[in-house]
Structures are given as structure tokens and as C-alpha cells.
């Protein structure tokens, strides 16, 4: 009977050893490849997070709500608003606003990649940019102005109804001319009931009317470093002429309640009245809109019959005001100002200053008749400009990597 031959060898061991070594090498290569892929993907995540963070900072500026941010105190107390977070498919961000001083803000934005695999934090230093208006009279214009009716123009600093709250306004400034005009000889008067008050440093026999031949249309619509284009870009509300009559049945008035203000309503131009003063036409007082100062830009001629508001009113064409009108803040009109009609017990009131540039020599002339009253008000100008101001990134070195 044949014996079983001993067939033990090393083939199996060698094969197993080789497979282990090869497996290790292949696994190592896969591991390196996998790590490489992960590192590459992390770079993408980091870039997504940075992009989201930057978007957060700049969207905060673009969507700036003056009522929310302009009212906070300087650092360190009650100086931060937010964070406001936004989630998108491309990433998410949380941005907060910190006030550094009267004008400066630090916007801190933390951005995340989708699923929050990466995080980046950037800051933007922004400065409030109130419109740098230089109002030099109750009414400034180039030429041809008709004065009539019972209209009153005063360069004496007035606070209007706001005088009942001493905290609202600073001390009055020196009197200004009632009218500042390029060519006083173009003024046409009708009747004797009109009135122009104020100071005229020229003492040239024109009463409170200052004549300045250097006035130009561009000069009247350029303020500091802001020309008309910049001015328009600062608008927080843009209205076509046809929209005005349709607003709330033709009435522009604050919309909200004691604590809230519905700024989405285009007929809401803020609440100029105080709780202690009478509201025109016994309309309801809206405390929530007292700090709302929109910058309203009308893209053509503006016809307003019933309005109560505050802020800055910018009109691309002519401004026609008939009937009840009460507005606190500067009014800048590219064309002419025409006031007519209006009941004696509810005249058109302008507190601030009106610039009717009449940049084009043709078209309608300024005509102030009816019961319009134009008062220069440094307080209305200051409050309107600061209350509605929006920030812009510092001109230089605004971007900060906050890590």
C-alpha cells in the first residue's frame, strides 16, 4: 500500500504573503487617493464658506434697515444687531452688525459651506453715508418763480411740531434767506398776501431773497461727493409717477401701529407727528413709524394731494402739491415746484428746505401759490438725513479677514 507523500510546501504562504503585501499597497494607494480627494474637496468647501461670508456682509449692507441698525448704541452696550442668518443651497451665513461710533459699523459675517463642512469669518467696516445736503435757504432755485396766494417762505430755523419735544432737535441755527435764487429779477409776484422771511446777508433791498449768480442746476443737485446719480441710488423707495395717485386711495400716510411700521407699503413715508401733537385730519397717530425716514425717489413728475411723511423726497421731474401736505425733511426737485390750492386750515407744509433746481430751462416754472408754507428746518434736515442713512463700505481698507 503506497504511503501518502508529504506535500507540504510554501506556495500557500508565499501566495498569502504576496496578496497581503499587494493588498496593503493597493489599499495604501486608495487611501492616499481618498485623502487627496478629501483635501481637494475641503478646499472647495473653504472657498464656498468664504464666498458665503462675503455675501453675508455685503447683503447686510444692501438690505440695511436704518430703523434697526441706526438706532443702536456704540460698542460695548446694546451695540449689536443680529446675527441674521440665511441658508442657501450654495452655503449659509450669519451676519451681525456692531456699531463702533456715530458713523462707523463693523459687519461681522460667518459663512459656512453646505452641510457646514467649512467655516470662514470676514468683517466689513462700513460708514454711514448720510446725503451730504447743503441747504442754504428755505427755497433754492435758479430762476422764474411766481409768488402769490397766501404762501409763506421762511428761512428762520423752524422745528414745526417737533418743537414740543426738546430731545428731538438741537439749538436753532442762524437765519437763512427765505429764497436763494440765481436771478432775482425773474421773480414774479401776484397779490400782496405772500410772505418771505429770513436773513439776507447781501442787504440788497430784496428782503429775505438772496441772489447768487453762481447758482447752477448741477450745483443745486450735487452734494459733496454725491451727484444726482449717487443721490438717486440712495433711495430706499422708488416710485413711478403713476403710482402716486394709486397709493392708499391717494393718501400718503404712515402705516403701522404703536410698535411696528410697515415699510413695505409705498404710501408709508414715516410718521412726522408726535404723540403730543395733533395729527392732520384727525388721522391715527402711528408711533411705530416715528423713526422711519425713507428716501423717496419719484422717477418723473410727482403730483401729491394728501400726504404726511418725513425723510428725503427726490423728484426727477416737477413737484405739484395741492391740498394737505406735511413733510419733514429736505425736498430736492430736478424740475420746478408748484403749489396750488389747499384749504386754509390744512395748507401744504414743508419743513426742511426745498431745492427746485430747474436744471432744464424749458418746461414749467416754479409757482408758489395757494396756502403753501415752506420753512427752513435744520432739525428736520438732520433727522431725515441721519435717520435714513445707509452705510457704504469704507472707501479704503473696509475688508477684514476675521478668521
Amino acid at each position: 500500500m503506497p504511503t501518502v507523500r508529504n506535500e507540504r510546501g510554501i506556495a500557500l504562504a508565499v501566495a498569502v504573503f504576496a496578496m497581503v503585501v499587494i493588498g496593503a499597497l493597493v489599499a495604501g494607494a486608495f487611501y492616499v487617493g481618498r485623502q487627496e480627494q478629501r483635501i481637494g474637496r475641503n478646499t472647495v468647501f473653504m472657498q464656498q464658506a468664504l464666498t458665503a461670508a462675503e455675501e453675508g456682509a455685503y447683503m447686510t449692507i444692501a438690505n440695511w434697515d436704518p430703523r434697526q441698525h441706526n438706532e443702536v448704541d456704540d460698542h460695548p452696550i446694546d451695540s449689536v444687531t443680529g446675527p441674521d442668518c440665511t441658508v442657501q443651497a450654495s452655503g449659509e451665513y450669519c451676519a451681525s452688525v456692531r456699531r463702533l461710533d456715530e458713523l462707523l459699523f463693523l459687519i461681522e459675517s460667518e459663512g459656512f459651506s453646505p452641510q457646514r463642512f467649512a467655516r470662514q469669518r470676514v468683517g466689513v467696516l462700513a460708514r454711514l453715508r448720510p446725503i451730504e445736503l447743503s441747504i442754504n435757504a428755505a427755497l433754492e432755485t435758479q430762476q422764474i418763480t411766481t409768488l402769490g396766494g397766501n404762501q409763506k417762505i421762511s428761512g428762520v430755523d423752524s422745528e414745526g411740531d417737533w418743537s414740543s419735544d426738546p430731545a428731538l432737535c438741537g439749538p436753532p441755527v442762524a437765519d437763512l434767506p427765505g429764497i436763494r435764487i440765481k436771478d432775482a429779477s425773474t421773480i414774479v409776484t401776484e397779490g400782496n398776501n405772500w410772505e418771505v422771511n429770513g436773513d439776507n446777508p447781501q442787504n440788497n433791498g430784496l428782503g429775505a431773497i438772496e441772489e447768487d449768480p453762481t447758482i447752477t442746476g448741477d450745483g443745486l443737485t450735487t452734494f459733496g461727493d454725491a451727484d444726482w446719480e449717487v443721490l438717486r441710488s440712495m433711495a430706499t423707495m422708488v416710485l413711478a409717477p403713476a403710482e402716486l395717485p394709486a397709493i392708499a386711495g391717494g393718501q400718503i400716510r404712515p402705516v403701522g401701529d404703536a410698535t411696528t411700521c410697515n415699510t413695505a407699503v409705498t404710501g408709508n413715508w414715516g410718521e412726522p407727528a408726535l404723540s403730543t401733537t395733533a395729527v392732520p385730519n384727525n388721522a391715527p397717530f402711528v408711533a411705530g413709524c416715528q423713526n422711519y425716514f425713507p428716501v423717496v425717489y419719484v422717477t418723473g413728475d410727482a403730483q401729491i394731494t394728501n400726504a404726511r411723511g418725513q425723510g428725503v423726497l427726490i423728484v426727477e421731474g416737477d413737484l405739484y402739491v395741492t391740498g394737505g401736505f406735511e413733510f419733514y425733511g429736505p425736498v430736492i426737485v430736478q424740475g420746478a415746484l408748484v403749489t396750488e390750492g389747499g384749504p386754509a386750515n390744512d395748507p401744504a407744509h414743508f419743513y426742511g428746505g426745498v431745492i427746485a433746481a430747474r436744471v432744464s430751462s424749458g418746461g414749467v416754472d416754479n409757482r408758489l401759490a395757494g396756502n403753501a408754507e415752506l420753512y427752513y428746518s435744520s432739525c428736520a434736515i438732520t433727522r431725515a438725513l441721519q435717520g435714513g442713512a445707509k452705510p457704504w463700505p469704507l472707501q479704503e481698507r473696509s475688508w477684514v479677514n476675521m478668521y
Binding site: M46, H75, P76, L100, E108
Partner: protein
């Protein structure tokens, strides 16, 4: 006694079979090792390239080339750049001590890469000057050298602590008086990125920090490499997208990195060092916006 054994034929067949199997295994092992080496070498090279396109844009993004007191880009060429690298942000919390040439900054509000302390030997400061609050056209940044800490003090709000920063070489002279509470302060160092060749003939990208008292301390420290020949290229563009050689016109910097593997790897052309390249561009965020 069992005298059975292997015949010569059996041995020869066995040896041939073992040789074939062994050769095959050896070939697989060698190929596996080559793949592994290639993978690791390329991964390291790609890491280097990615490092470059991560670090350099992060460094240059915060630069302002348009500062009227001098561009943050001090020198630039296709293979080197010397610039002011922003390192931290602080906030003034009291009126400046004009006579003592010092400003008090908040301890509770700091940010940046290196906010916890300043280095007298290397750091300088930029301080925002509001000027006339009625206009933004006169806003500027004061330049000064950091000369050390002047101790602590209570901020003007009476609530938080601050640290005095002593200044020197204030430019423009007298500008400190226009600094207001709340003004941001940026600390920066002067950095240089440049290529150099090591003892083996490989190109590297190195960085070094300028010492105010003693110039450039030694050789650059390696940041990434090895680089291929002409493997680090910077291109400078102005705001119109044209290339420029003027440091105060730079609005965007193009960065091209061509890295190579540390060791040769076998590829289609035999044994050689593999190369790969990455290109990116960074827009300088802090140039004057002109608006």
C-alpha cells in the same frame, strides 16, 4: 525506508513554475509599489500647489494698493512680492493721547490672524481717521510704527479695559488728533514671498517677515516646493484688467504654480519628476473703491 524523491524533470518543472509564479508576483509587487509611490508623490505635489493657492490669496486679499501714503505692495516682480500683510483689527476706545503719541484700544474687541499681541520688532499700525464727520471724502488711514504697549487703562465708556499702543513715525504728521473713539486700527507686518533654489537645485517658494530694526532676518523659510522651472509666476492687473508694473495700480494678482514631485516617478516618458500646475487670481479687497 522511503526512498522516493524528485526526479530531475520534476525539479526542473518545479523551478520553472516557481520562477514564473515568483516573477509574476514580483511584477505585481513592483507595479503596486510604483502606483503607490506615484500616488503619494502626486498627492504631496498637489497639496503643495493647493497650499499656494490657499495661502497667497488669503495673504493678498486684504492688501490695499491704492493708499495715497504708499501702496501696500512695496515691491513686486514675476517671482517675488513684498507687501504689508494685515494681521489684526482693534478698536480705539478713548481720545488719542496726541502729546504722548499713543492710542488706547479695546481689550474686548479684537480679531484677525494674530490679535492677541503685537510684536514691537515687526508690527506697524494703520489707524482710521474720520476727519470731518460731515464728509467721507477726507477719510484716511494714518500710518505709524508700533513701539510697544503703554500699559492698560479704562476706556472712555468707563466699562471696559483697554491697552495703550505707543506709536512712532506717524504719517501724516498731526493726523493723530483727528482719530475718534471707535476708529478701527489695523496691525500689519511686511512680508515677502519669493522663490529660491536649494542646495539640490530645486526651486522653492519661501516667505520671510521684515524686522523693523534689522531688515530681512536670514533666508526665506520654505512655504512650498519643489517647484518646476519657472514654477511660480505672479501677474499683476489693474482695474481695467490690463497687466501693470506699477504697485499702486494693482487691482488683481494672478498666481500660477507649477509644482513637481519630490522624487522621480515612472510615467509614460520613463522615470521623471511629475509636474502639475494650478492657477488662481485674487482681487485686492481693500483698494480705494472710488465711490
Amino acid at each position: 525506508m522511503n526512498r522516493r524523491g524528485f526526479t530531475l524533470i520534476e525539479l526542473l518543472v518545479g523551478i520553472v513554475l516557481v520562477g514564473i509564479v515568483g516573477g509574476a508576483i514580483y511584477q505585481v509587487l513592483v507595479n503596486s509599489q510604483r502606483v503607490y509611490t506615484l500616488q503619494t508623490q502626486r498627492a504631496a505635489m498637489n497639496d503643495n500647489n493647493r497650499t499656494a493657492v490657499t495661502i497667497l490669496p488669503a495673504e493678498l486679499r486684504e492688501v490695499a494698493a491704492t493708499d495715497v501714503l504708499g501702496s501696500d505692495i512695496i515691491q513686486m516682480s514675476a517671482t517675488a512680492i513684498t507687501y504689508k500683510a494685515m494681521r489684526s483689527l482693534r478698536i480705539i476706545c478713548a481720545d488719542p493721547d496726541v502729546m504722548g503719541s499713543r492710542v488706547l484700544v479695546r481689550n474686548d474687541l479684537m480679531a484677525g490672524m494674530r490679535w492677541w499681541n503685537l510684536d514691537v520688532g515687526t508690527d506697524s499700525l494703520l489707524i482710521f481717521v474720520e476727519g470731518n464727520p460731515a464728509t467721507r471724502t477726507d477719510n484716511t488711514w494714518l500710518h505709524a510704527s508700533y513701539q510697544g504697549s503703554g500699559g492698560g487703562a479704562l476706556c472712555a465708556d468707563g466699562l471696559t479695559q483697554g491697552t495703550w499702543l505707543v506709536l512712532d513715525g506717524i504719517a501724516p504728521a498731526g493726523a493723530l488728533a483727528g482719530v475718534r473713539i471707535g476708529a478701527p486700527v489695523r496691525a500689519f507686518v511686511v512680508m515677502q514671498f519669493e522663490t529660491y533654489t536649494d542646495g539640490l537645485g530645486d526651486g522653492w517658494l519661501g516667505a520671510r517677515r521684515y524686522a523693523k530694526g534689522g531688515g530681512w532676518p536670514g533666508q526665506p523659510q520654505p512655504v512650498l516646493g519643489p517647484l518646476a522651472n519657472a514654477g511660480f509666476q505672479l501677474t499683476y492687473f489693474d482695474e481695467d484688467g490690463n497687466t501693470t508694473v506699477n504697485t499702486d495700480e494693482v487691482a488683481r494678482v494672478g498666481i500660477r504654480i507649477v509644482g513637481q514631485t519630490l522624487a522621480p516617478v515612472r510615467g509614460p516618458n520613463g522615470l521623471a519628476r511629475a509636474q502639475d500646475q494650478l492657477e488662481t487670481a485674487v482681487a485686492l479687497r481693500n483698494n480705494n473703491r472710488g465711490d
